[in-house]
Symmetry: C2
Subunit: 231 residues, 2 copies
Amino acid sequence: MRRFFLDHTPALHEVFTLPPDESKHIGKVLRMQVGESLELVNGKGLVFTAKITDNHFKHCKVGITEKKQFPKDDFHIHIAIAPTKNVDRLSHFIEKSTELGIHEVSLIICENSERKVINTEKLEKVIIGAMKQSKRLYKPILHSPISFDEFIEKHPIGLIAHCYEPEKDSIHKVLTPQNCPILIGPEGDFSQEEVTKATSCNYKSISLGKTRLRTETAALYACAIAKMKFE
Amino acid sequence: MRRFFLDHTPALHEVFTLPPDESKHIGKVLRMQVGESLELVNGKGLVFTAKITDNHFKHCKVGITEKKQFPKDDFHIHIAIAPTKNVDRLSHFIEKSTELGIHEVSLIICENSERKVINTEKLEKVIIGAMKQSKRLYKPILHSPISFDEFIEKHPIGLIAHCYEPEKDSIHKVLTPQNCPILIGPEGDFSQEEVTKATSCNYKSISLGKTRLRTETAALYACAIAKMKFE
């Protein structure tokens, strides 16, 4: 059944109008008909079955016929990434990590960050597209950018990937299933000072292997390993 | 030191002209000067140190002052992927997997493939860019597209990721470090017939986890797990 995203949580049997984007998709792109069924997800584990009562391409109406709550994962993948200079690279990470099952993305502005401003609205759309694609029921949380220092203060325990000291643990050996944000630095890496700040809190330095990875590739790799380890 | 790619293997002390692309980069983009040193890699584990003897932006000349051979990895990551309808998605996989350390990419045309023709020349350029970025010394092999049947005949042992039977081994449990191509299907998955063909040879069905992944995400995930397991 076709699946659509909903930004509110309707009651059983409620009849309501879908947002313009989804209306257009149903009425114009897919040309779905009155009486056809579809699925709606709210990004919080609820899946609704609904019937189209009006297929107007600007204000499509549906009535909820069924609802079912699905449980959360028992692990939490949280990556804090410095936005890449080229936004497409960050956007690509957001898409892929949503498919892979990430739960939380923080954007951190670091000393070497070349990009300090980012339009999270566009990234939210990427997340919703990838959620539909991958049939995920929980929407990953995307935070607005904050400074590296602020992040460390808010999350005093975690892992930080960087290229400084040669002896570091491999990510898959030290990753824990809860409360363990993985910090991925900007194109020019974290500054030595930032690494010292993090490790003098409760951050462990980690290695992502032998090859030098771009910011978004490093973040994707970390996400893949977490998926493999805990899913 | 700046690193450039070479498609032949010069002798020690040889003086020769670099290809136009690299000449332009050295003479025009970076404005490097006569006497400056640079590194050249041949994609087969050789690293040359060279001095610029002529910095002309169309036919830059260098003389080799040192050469050193680095060993190969003791594992081999080979992914056979059905080219995605949108070429950018395949190109992205090629870039990311090169950074992650892939050794061989085969392109397979399957029953449900929407794209049957592909320009591998452009993908070769993506590989070289990613090699420089990630400081890899061995260039991954990229094969021209062949049919699924031809591939299976050439490689009678491997793993195949698909969405059919519910009980499959997780990729990280069955992946071996050698001679183990991982088959990733097109947007509409492999056909049931293709899966049967593969498993009646020596292919094992594998799962890439709970969420439904796009072709290029599945391939990237497989590559990340192989890197983690063997590197």
